[in-house]
Symmetry: C2
Subunit: 351 residues, 2 copies
Amino acid sequence: MAANRASIADLAKKLNISVSTVSRALNNHTSISESTRKKVWQLAKEVNYQPNHLAAALRKGRSNLLGVMVPHIEGHFFSSVMHGIETVASKVGFNVMICQSNENVASEKKNIESLLNAQVEGVLVSLARNTHDFKHFEKVSKRAIPLVFFDRVLEGLNVSSVIIDDYLGAYQAVTHLIEQGCQRIAHFAGPQHLNIYKNRQRGYQDALQAHGLSVEDDLIFTCDMKTEDGVEGMEKLLALAVPPDAVFSASDFSAVGAMQVLKARQLRVPHDMALVGFSNETFTSLTEPRITSVDQRCEQMGQSAVKLFLEMLEEKSGEFSPRRIVLQPELLIRESSLRLQPHLIPHVTAR
Amino acid sequence: MAANRASIADLAKKLNISVSTVSRALNNHTSISESTRKKVWQLAKEVNYQPNHLAAALRKGRSNLLGVMVPHIEGHFFSSVMHGIETVASKVGFNVMICQSNENVASEKKNIESLLNAQVEGVLVSLARNTHDFKHFEKVSKRAIPLVFFDRVLEGLNVSSVIIDDYLGAYQAVTHLIEQGCQRIAHFAGPQHLNIYKNRQRGYQDALQAHGLSVEDDLIFTCDMKTEDGVEGMEKLLALAVPPDAVFSASDFSAVGAMQVLKARQLRVPHDMALVGFSNETFTSLTEPRITSVDQRCEQMGQSAVKLFLEMLEEKSGEFSPRRIVLQPELLIRESSLRLQPHLIPHVTAR
DNA sequence: GCTAAAAGGACAAACGTTTGCATAAACCTA
DNA sequence: TAGGTTTATGCAAACGTTTGTCCTTTTAGC
């Protein structure tokens, strides 16, 4: 029953030819006659021959393996990125190995070792929250293995990366709120040591100033971006002497938390308080009203990361200079921020 | 710069001992003296030795690779299952390789080949929608490689699998609605060739009958389970001569679609129409009101699948008899279905 | 002090491929 | 017909490990 699988040598023996001929025949090498090529392929089919990638990889020094490490795979963003990654990787014949750091630097270190041991040809990484240094990635670059960071990157480092323009996304979101007539715009900010949240805050501030509005510290609520944080933040804002008339939240989760508070207090969104989130989470188009949000191009990010990896692999022999891809976010305007011209809303259907 | 990595042979040469000794030292084999063991480990650290898993795998015939194939990885359910899988797999030293079938039988076939070629030691699969036969999986079982189906399985087949008790989940959901005083309960049903939706519908019907309610065909709306389908379904139901007073939807997405219609028509949830969904999607606890839903134990499903695989691996030498794990779903009662005793609602916070 | 056992290590074969080189047969070309 | 080229194949080494077997040295038992 457990028919131990046939090797190239078995085929060779049965056909009374050499292993090298079989190998070349299976690889459709030009120097093999059509007749033997056919014979080999047919026998291969018959005995259900399955090539052993491991052996080939060992010999060729090419594993066709791509390693990916994310903080955690569940959730909208990372799973969408993974989707993008797997799709284009498999298209070019790469298998993808996946690891989770669980937001933990120690695991990150272990995983890198594990991926390297598995002889991956490239590593795509989105960093754990509290990763601040590059040490454990040096092994990767030392072994001249393409390394690409995505979304959560380390700044000021000469490493390839693909990110979205968080600054621009925030800038556009806030500008949109201003155009809708909002005058006092608050911000739910995320942990500032993460590049993404820092840039979103910068975008927020610059957009205000560019339109002659002042940045007020008590309108900025820095938190962990959970739904509960949004609840807390909104309650704080409503308790101010002069509450804001809009909130730009760096996360959809805190935005929805804020909305819950507003509804409970019978305040109208967007007329009493306009709301914009970030990430275009699935639920943003399912709430009532739907929440305006900034789409992060998750899938495209995954695709770009793989493409970058492939480019680096190409010119591996030479010195490859790190590249950086910056994707353009897209502001999806929905009812939570639309005070004017409701007839212009593009209706975005959920998947 | 691209310091080609050191092999076991390099270490041996530098220390003037044999490769076998080095190998055993690195594996902490008992027959190696403490002193040489230390020497080897130290040198390994110094020259940054990275073992080559491929070579070891080839020699040992054990790749420590686990293959996983899902229809698509993005989205709440599958990404959560993957999380569970990766977590326990990595704990026991397995790397996981991931594939997507994109709901496509042809890709499914290709992916299986690819995984087998990569010499995975086991395969976990959730089937594409339109997979009806087992042919392309026979190779897996023929090679005596543990095969575990999860969630979307092929019925009547002698293959290991882990599923949740969709029947029970549906039964409980409908019973709950009845207990809340609902008398005319409709059902949004999914494609009936998928085991999960078929069982949910059976659970719905049996629960009705068990409580003396009749099953009416025009209260069952079979669709694709998208948000839009929920919209359409609810509109149809409301157009009936005698509309229902509750809907049990086999998917949260169609449930939320239904809720949108109800809100637009100023109907109250749950008093005019109670609503229960299925899957406990993230957004179910973010809507207003929050949607009662059946939790599918995604993570646990992933964990169980890996455990099952490990068990099969254990007794691989003997004939392993397929096993089947059935997880218990959990009904999470929220406001969308709660007509009585609102003070008893457990407040479920979103992640 | 002699033998037996144990400890520590070396040799070499294997795992299943790929591939540079050599070879033999067949085909031209003049 | 000799010489050269093409075509098709074989030989054997290599990839980096692991591991069964054998050898040498030390230790212990008496």
